[in-house]
Symmetry: C2
Subunit: 93 residues, 2 copies
Amino acid sequence: MNLLFKALADPTRRRILQLLRRGDLTAGEIADQFPISRPSISHHLNLLKQAGLVQDERRGQHIVYSLNTTVFQEVLTWLAGLMAMEEKENGDG
Amino acid sequence: MNLLFKALADPTRRRILQLLRRGDLTAGEIADQFPISRPSISHHLNLLKQAGLVQDERRGQHIVYSLNTTVFQEVLTWLAGLMAMEEKENGDG
């Protein structure tokens, strides 16, 4: 969870996730969308991968990145849990 | 969003949020639940407050903390948006 929220606490990494929601991309295709160096993009992709938010897969000469929606679902469930308890509060003793 | 995810990237702060979902608490009541110093708890509460995840309110001699579910809702909406687009992907050209 720590890695996960740390990975989300950066605007470039959140923007990468938003690009990937439209479809899988190579590191090069992702880098083309940003005015920052390829090594920086690689660093961001690695952090997203360590957090489990993206996965990579070799296709021919390229490494293709995609969103790992399972992990998003876990965060959603955790956040929704916090809010649900808050609403239930009056019903319990 | 950066502050928000940074605030969530710490187990003590996530645990504080989980305590608060059961009801409002003073800093002292929160501190009693952790084997760490009160100044540390104050620091964590300040970060949660800066991120908008909790709000504080003076009641008599005490400052009482509560969850700010509006901000949780914003994170939920953002995450759900990422996942929804992923599912819609096949329908667009």
